[in-house]
């Protein structure tokens, strides 16, 4: 395939920025245009629910660009892409991205990196927050004071981190989770309850198995109404109820999306090329074909958004792909505990405690299917976890069921 002369990257966050960096690193000398719907230059989102929310770091410290980066890109920030016109003639692959302010950008290749957007609670009363952007986190932070009561809806990782940060500020927090066990989706019910046990031990009240019926208050939120009729008084409500891919702007473009029930992401091959020639997608909004599972899979992990662009760009430029994709990996920092998870969990695995215990917050658990390790969970076990993560990223058949010399003791949880 002919190398493009110009690339438009739609989305100026982690995946978009990493794409631009990879293009320059691999020697691309054409024009790069970066389009971002926020005004900010690329910044790191994980601290928004932690250090930034706690007031322990500044906006400048979140920047993803480093000194002397020399991306030589044209930046169009604070403007949303509203449509993509895919080139009609495949031999002349000039695509057009149309922007909300009427401008448009044409280029040989387009990388869709628009990420995801937080699900928000219906109704627009004040005092109700989600945390996805710098502006979101700043707005929540401005409402935090020692005497406010905070309710967090959703005990997933974002909700848990926000509860951890806010309670460390000495503020009373109640978490509400519709499922019987928090984090059952990503970690499974056993480990979900272990990790969720951190809340109680740090003074956060956790209500599980209770869906939210609605919010209380007219102009300003006064609490959360539960399905069972209980009312949880709250001055500030934070909804951590997941995210959806930001792909609505692609409607009518002809770029194929996966059905909403399996994530609604942009369908890509295993190196990020979409159904339309010259159009690529990466990051939260993209559903790459996963060779390990044989299906398209949308991944919202930070590390995948950072690392996949290099693979995509190598494919786009017709260069060899230097590094194989690693096992999916995410981490969460809560209550001073680093929780790490890597691999692919289906739900039918046997779990083995390889080190530590839940009581001492230093657990390392390996998930095995038919004897073969497929996933690993660590709590404050960075060294051992790193070894297992590396092991899980080896091609199948070259993995060992035990890790030597570190994988020694074993017991059933």
């Amino acid at each position: 395939m002919r190398e493009p002369n110009s690339v438009t990257i739609v989305g100026a966050s982690l995946a978009g920025h990493a794409t631009a960096k990879a293009l320059r690193r691999l020697g691309f000398r054409g024009a790069i245009t970066m389009i971002g719907d926020e005004n900010a230059r690329p910044y790191d989102r994980p601290p928004l629910s932690k250090e930034y929310l706690a007031g322990a770091c500044t906006e400048e410290e979140l920047a993803l660009e480093v000194k002397d980066e020399a991306l030589d890109a044209q930046w169009l920030l604070g403007v949303r892409a509203v449509a993509l016109d895919v080139a009609a003639m495949p031999d002349v692959p000039t695509h057009t991205v149309r922007l909300a302010d009427g401008r448009s950008v044409t280029s040989d290749a387009v990388v869709i990196a628009t990420g995801s957007k937080a699900r928000r609670m219906p109704g627009a009363v004040s005092g109700v927050h989600t945390v996805r952007t710098l502006a979101d986190a700043a707005a929540l932070r401005s409402e935090l004071a020692p005497d406010v009561r905070v309710a967090v809806i959703g005990a997933g990782f974002i909700g848990a981190e926000i509860a951890s940060t806010i309670s460390a500020l000495g503020i009373s927090v109640t978490m509400i989770e519709a499922a019987a066990t928090p984090l059952a989706g990503p970690l499974g019910p056993e480990m979900g309850s272990v990790v969720a046990g951190l809340h109680a031990r740090h003074g956060v009240r956790l209500l599980t198995g209770v869906p939210v019926a609605g919010l209380l208050g007219d102009d300003r939120v006064t609490g959360v109404l539960l399905d069972d009729g209980r009312k949880i008084p709250a001055d500030v409500v934070v909804a951590g109820i997941g995210a959806v891919p930001a792909v609505d702007w692609l409607e009518g473009s002809g770029v194929e999306l996966t059905p909403p029930e399996i994530g609604g992401g942009v369908v890509c091959d295993s190196v990020g090329a979409t159904s339309a020639r010259g159009i690529y997608a990466v990051g939260d909004c993209a559903a790459w074909f996963d060779d390990a599972t044989g299906r398209h899979h949308r991944i919202e992990h930070w590390t995948d958004s950072r690392d996949r662009p290099a693979v995509l760009v190598a494919g786009m430029l017709g260069q060899p792909i230097s590094a194989a994709l690693r096992a999916p990996y995410f981490w969460s920092d809560q209550y001073g505990v680093t929780i790490q998870f890597a691999g692919r969990r289906h739900g039918d695995e046997d779990l083995t405690v390889e080190a530590g215990s839940p009581a001492t917050d230093d657990l390392l658990v390996v998930y095995r299917r038919a004897g073969e390790p497929v996933a690993v969970l660590g709590m404050n076990q960075p060294k051992l976890f790193a070894r297992w993560r590396k092991e899980l990223s080896r091609p199948r058949g070259r993995r060992s069921a035990e890790l030597q010399p570190l994988g020694t003791s074993s017991a059933t949880p």
Partner: protein, 113 residues
């Protein structure tokens, strides 16, 4: 020069944290057989790079996955924004020695040498 260990005690693919100096350093033996020494503490948040993922001439922080080039100390991938110091390595008669950099160390917030 600081004696680290015998070469045979640091197999390829392994790393060693040396905390008898402050701040501690990390010595890596790459799969290609090269030995490198850098400051052990990630510049983003406190973590031991010797515990990280060594691949090629790069190490990835075990906590938040920042990548550092062992040859230059530069950050190859965020969230870290600042590089680490590199130290000169000498291997003589099967023993690894390090000459410490005289540059000021770059440490994460809240960590002092």
């Amino acid at each position: 020069m600081l004696r680290i260990c015998s070469l045979v005690d640091l197999p390829a693919g392994e790393a060693l944290r040396v905390d008898e100096v402050s701040p501690p350093i990390a010595v890596f033996h790459t799969d290609d057989g090269e030995i490198f020494a850098i400051d052990d503490t990630c510049t983003h948040q406190e973590a031991s790079l010797a515990d990280g993922w060594l691949e090629g001439c790069e190490v990835e922080c075990p906590l938040h996955a920042s990548r550092f080039d062992l040859r230059t100390g530069q950050v190859d991938a965020p969230p870290a924004r600042l590089g680490v110091r590199t130290h000169q390595v000498t291997v003589t008669e099967g023993e690894i020695y390090v000459t410490l950099s005289t540059d000021p160390p770059v440490l994460p917030p809240g960590v002092t040498a």
